[in-house]
Amino acid sequence: MATQEVKMRVWRGDAKGGAFREYRVPAGEGMVVLDVIHAIQATHASDLAVRWNCKAGKCGSCSAEINGKPRLMCMTRMDLFRPGETITVAPMKTFPIIRDLVTDVSFNFERAKRIPAFKPKAKEPDGTRRMVQEDIDRVQEFHKCIECFLCQNVCHVIRDHEENKKYFAGPRFFVRLAALEMHPLDTNDRLELTKEMAGLGFCNITKCCTEVCPEHIKITDNAIIPLKERVVDEFYDPLARLLRKIGGK
């Protein structure tokens, strides 16, 4: 793909309102959507607001909706689209608009504060911490989360229901809770919270979150469903709970 002109529709505006604006810029080989947004900034609209940092899919800053699909702009190549196709870039819908492609994601940072901290058990008698790789594999999957909040954006429980944000932590935080719950060293108990305040019950396992996760974390299968099972054991099945307590986590 040599340099060719691409047609972009980018949402411009702020909390008061806005609209899509069309831009035409040259795109070279291998370019990603974020490159094109930067080209628009440099040549057409120096004040076009966008968040980004690593440009390599590692920081989770550049989330947006590209042709209606929640994606990282820095990992979406332009040659994914048909030549001549107009590409639409919009901010994430679930969060309040600040400006252009930038949204107010503070909901997530507030939610994070409410998750009870990691509380490790005592060390081994020799003063070390021993864990086998197999036991931490599943937690390491959750630790891959780059906090792009695309899963939060796509989850229908909060996407069209601002009022649910009070009761629902969202898939990113189910991943976080699962990571803590399954951490071999952790001793804190968060199941009550998971059930009551994080609103795990609202999730009806649509798997939309898993589909958009750029880190390919199996949010629903590996985090949410096991958490739901634990909650059931804890509150409705005293025997299973007892067995789990005896057998470690």
């Binding site: 609209a45 120096s46 920081c59 600040i98 864990m131 630790h143 906090e147």
Partner: protein, 600 residues
């Protein structure tokens, strides 16, 4: 006119600027010492450079090689830094890194494990033993998230997307900081007793770089403006392996872990060329044949492969191969792990490299070689600090992490940055808190000065000159890339100085459109101020050091010069101008010197 309540104002004992590994660790420590602490960062929390770190964190835990200990780590660090390091920092770093890594584990980090269930360690350039604790190739993510969660649970006040532009002083002492909220463009004033700078480096002034938009050298600039000393700023690390193709990803980092895990560099003739570039300084400890090099991966009693020489050596070698016409189609060299390790091993050890090449370059690293070339990566130089306390030369101002200088000397070893962040981040928090507690006097912010700064910061909106900040930035990047790059000459450095002067002139003519709300054009116009100041400091220091050493290579002075082995190049700002001088390095105690001089 200068009414105090004109600006949003907050009072703290300690304000930490920067929320990467260094800033987070500093804030955690300061707050644990019981002083009122704020953490300020210009991106969202958790997005700092630290999140991108891949290969690992260096600490002589001795989990894989029990022979390893702080003395070996100290020696490797000093030798990697071509002995320009501050020996005391290198000593503290090597001694304290293991405790800081274990502390991360206490806070929930999950490093990859050895068969015995301990923290696994991997090989990296310049480290004699496998020393880097890691999580696949996303160690920085694990580290920043662990620190971030810990800090959040401590209840530290965090100011995100808040950009500090100036430090404020009462007489000689720090008394506050002034900046703006990116979201609203409104100003914010911090009054405080002590400040910890943890703002990272300035690699965004180069065109081919692994650094993000944040690396505009703000911390170095505000420190200079406040009267602090800089040292070693001519020492810019070009990481040997950045992506080179396609053009839009040029510069994105390819972790040294690829070579640590068995990958080798080859030229277009298929030759492992690093054997031709073994410098005298490292000859005794480097393998001379391919068999010997490959045997080293299995047993560290063999000498190490030259693929893992320190970064400055490898970057220069790649540069030379490409110049000699033995480069790849896109002007790099090949990095091949596909023919050397099984596909599932590569995917398990280097998942994000696999992903990055697959998605961004259509290259499957388990079946094809990568194309790589040098990319601007790290500032060894920066703000001069006291080794034990991280205090700068300005009372009340402390600095840690990439913004501070001394630990890495002329060249940083891979993995030594993440450990630097937690070792000296903790110390910065500790000593800043102590300073704040002991300070009993009163401090007054000069509101006229604040008002004047505020006027300057909004000036680009009234600019009639029509200069586009993006255009100035692109020209600056071209200039630094070609004239203050890996290989330097006096002539080109002086040309660069002339150009920098014209860019400064152009910056006074800059105009930005739109309003103050989340306006990247305006932000860039302000960032250019620090990028230009840092670029000038680097260029002046590069002219001053008339020798080649570590990250600084002079075509017109290709040898290391014993005279320059004993001095730091110091930059300070006086009467609005940058002044350069040479000052003696601290003298290393005899027993440590012996350690360093041991051959193998």
């Amino acid at each position: 006119m200068a009414a105090e309540n004109q600006y949003e104002t907050h009072e703290y004992d300690v304000v930490v600027i920067g929320a990467g590994g260094a800033g987070l660790r500093a804030a955690i420590e300061a707050s644990a010492q019981g002083v009122k602490t704020a953490l300020v960062c210009k991106s969202l929390l958790g997005k700092a450079h630290t999140v991108m770190a891949e290969g690992g964190i260096a600490a002589a835990l001795g989990n894989v090689y029990p022979e390893d200990n702080w003395k070996v780590h100290f020696r490797d660090t000093m030798r990697g830094g071509k002995l320009l390091n501050n020996w005391r920092m290198a000593q503290i770093h090597a001694q304290e890194a293991p405790a800081r890594v274990l502390e991360l584990e206490e806070w929930g980090a999950l490093f990859d494990r050895t068969k015995n269930g301990l923290i696994l360690q991997r090989d990296f350039g310049g480290h004699r033993y496998a020393r880097l604790a890691h999580v696949g190739d996303r160690t920085g993510l694990e580290m920043i998230r662990t620190l971030q969660n810990h800090a959040v649970h401590q209840g530290i006040d965090v100011y995100m997307e808040c950009n500090v532009q100036r430090l404020l002083k009462d007489g000689e002492r720090i008394c506050g900081a002034f900046g703006y909220w990116r979201e609203s463009g409104k100003f914010i004033l911090f009054k405080c007793k002590a400040i910890v700078l943890a703002t990272g480096g300035g690699g965004k002034a180069w065109k081919i770089t692994s650094n993000s938009w944040e690396y505009t050298g703000d911390g170095i600039t505000v420190a200079l403006d406040a009267g602090a000393d800089l040292i070693d700023v001519e020492m810019v690390q070009f990481h040997p392996t950045g992506m080179v193709w396609p053009p839009s990803v040029r510069g994105i980092l390819v972790t040294e872990g690829v070579r640590g895990d068995g990958g080798t560099l080859k030229n277009s003739e298929g030759k492992r060329f690093m054997f031709n570039y073994i410098p005298e300084f490292f000859r005794a400890e480097t393998a001379e044949t391919e068999q010997e090099a490959d045997a080293w991966y299995e047993d560290k009693k063999n000498r190490r492969t030259p693929d893992l020489l320190p970064r400055d050596e490898v970057a220069r070698a790649i540069n030379a191969e490409v110049k000699a016409g033995r480069g790849t189609p896109h002007g790099g060299v090949f990095l091949d792990i596909a023919s050397r390790r099984p596909a599932d091993y590569i995917k398990r050890r280097l998942p994000s490299m696999y992903h990055q090449f697959k998605e961004l370059a259509n290259v499957d690293i388990t079946t094809e070689p990568m194309e790589v070339g040098p990319t601007c990566h790290y500032f060894m130089g920066g703000v001069r600090v006291d080794a034990d306390t991280t205090a700068t030369t300005v009372p009340g101002l402390f600095a840690a992490g990439e913004v501070a200088a001394g630990l890495h000397g002329a060249n940083r070893l891979g993995g030594n940055s993440l450990s630097d962040l937690v070792v000296f981040g903790r110390r910065a928090g500790l000593y800043a808190a102590e300073y704040a507690k002991n300070f009993t006097g009163s401090l007054t912010v000069n509101m006229d000065e604040v008002e004047a700064t505020a006027q300057q910061l909004v000036a680009p909106f009234d600019g009639k000159g029509g200069e586009n900040p993006y255009a100035i930035h692109a020209d600056l990047q071209d200039c630094m890339q070609t004239q203050v790059g890996i290989i330097r000459t006096e002539k080109e450095l002086k040309q660069a100085l002339d150009k920098l002067a014209t860019f400064k002139q152009r910056l006074t003519q800059v105009s930005v459109e739109g309003n103050r709300q989340y306006n990247p054009g305006w932000h860039l116009a302000l960032d250019l101020y620090s990028m230009l100041e840092v670029s000038e400091a680097v260029t002046l220091a590069a002219i001053e050091r008339k020798e080649s050493r570590g990250g600084h290579t002079r075509d017109d002075y290709p040898q290391t010069d014993p005279k320059f082995a004993k001095v730091n190049v110091v930059v300070r700002k006086r009467q609005g101008e940058l002044r350069i001088s040479q000052e003696p390095l601290p003298e290393m105690p005899e027993e440590l010197r012996k350690l360093v001089e041991e051959q193998k």
